[in-house]
Symmetry: C2
Subunit: 203 residues, 2 copies
Amino acid sequence: MNTLPPILKQIAFFFESLPGIGEKTANRLAFYLLRLPESELKKFSQAVANLKKKTKYCQVCLNLTENDRCPICQDKQRDQSIVTVVESVLDLLAFENGNIYKGVYHVLHGRIDPLNNIRPEDIYIDKLIERVNAKNSPIKEIILATNTDMEGEATAMYIKEKLKTQKSKIKITRLAYGLPIGANLEYADYGTLKKAIDGRQVY
Amino acid sequence: MNTLPPILKQIAFFFESLPGIGEKTANRLAFYLLRLPESELKKFSQAVANLKKKTKYCQVCLNLTENDRCPICQDKQRDQSIVTVVESVLDLLAFENGNIYKGVYHVLHGRIDPLNNIRPEDIYIDKLIERVNAKNSPIKEIILATNTDMEGEATAMYIKEKLKTQKSKIKITRLAYGLPIGANLEYADYGTLKKAIDGRQVY
């Protein structure tokens, strides 16, 4: 690496600092940039420089947006009475890309994770409670859509308990557990199989 | 994706245009940038903007450099009489990172590839011939280190024939073929096994 121009090294090091990118891939990416037209590099460079200035959290659901409210919260077609609680904007995107859901969201920006010192007050649970308790709140159902790993489950459980202590009578649901589409039973873990049996449905 | 701030989308699309990065990884990378400190993003953005201005080819070996000659060609400790011919700077780096070679290089920046319309005159073979024929050239050996796939072999063959027609009496060698270290014979392809038998050495 010492034979590389410092600026190329700098870019490769940056790529290497990103999640899931190793040294060889980082080098390959940096070299690839060299082959791009100047104009494209300039546009990308400006976007990176302005990224943080131009993005903020939606005042309602904490989705990322350039305005005060995100396009989902602004959309009159969406059902404001159902709120799906997700850990991250990437999870929100998973729903949106599938085009399978017409309600709105609440983004926690994290999950309760004591091992990594992330407590309930470090993520946006309070904001959800506030939203539920707001005067004229249209919310009738909260779908807990945190991940199904240990931290996600703990977060869902915590939010459920917290919501129960509120005076409002909101329906609280959790995403269904079971086998993913296209799954091979042979490779399914016992936990998932048990959930699939327990949650079996009339066919 | 339509719910994302345009600037985040722009960055994700750029990442997605890079080799080996799909939509999900691109999104994850773009979101990761959001979490970095402003100062780091600024430094990276400037490096990207200046990348092409600040890098050029070494006048001698066509390695990438910020100066007229690359650090390898400037290094008095390196053996200028042996020149290893590689397809790309990444290949050069593979040798340098291993710290296994003390000669110098010649970077072709490509390989002969008729299917993709890349002819001998499209890569830097002429520069190599020029370098060999230069007055007071110190070159005694050329190691052909192009890849061992079809295009790499064709390129090595072409350069060998071309060098033979020159008046100079330079030794031309090719990297050894055989089994990679740590290889499992069971998984080796027949071509490699044949090369390994043909090139067997006294033990």
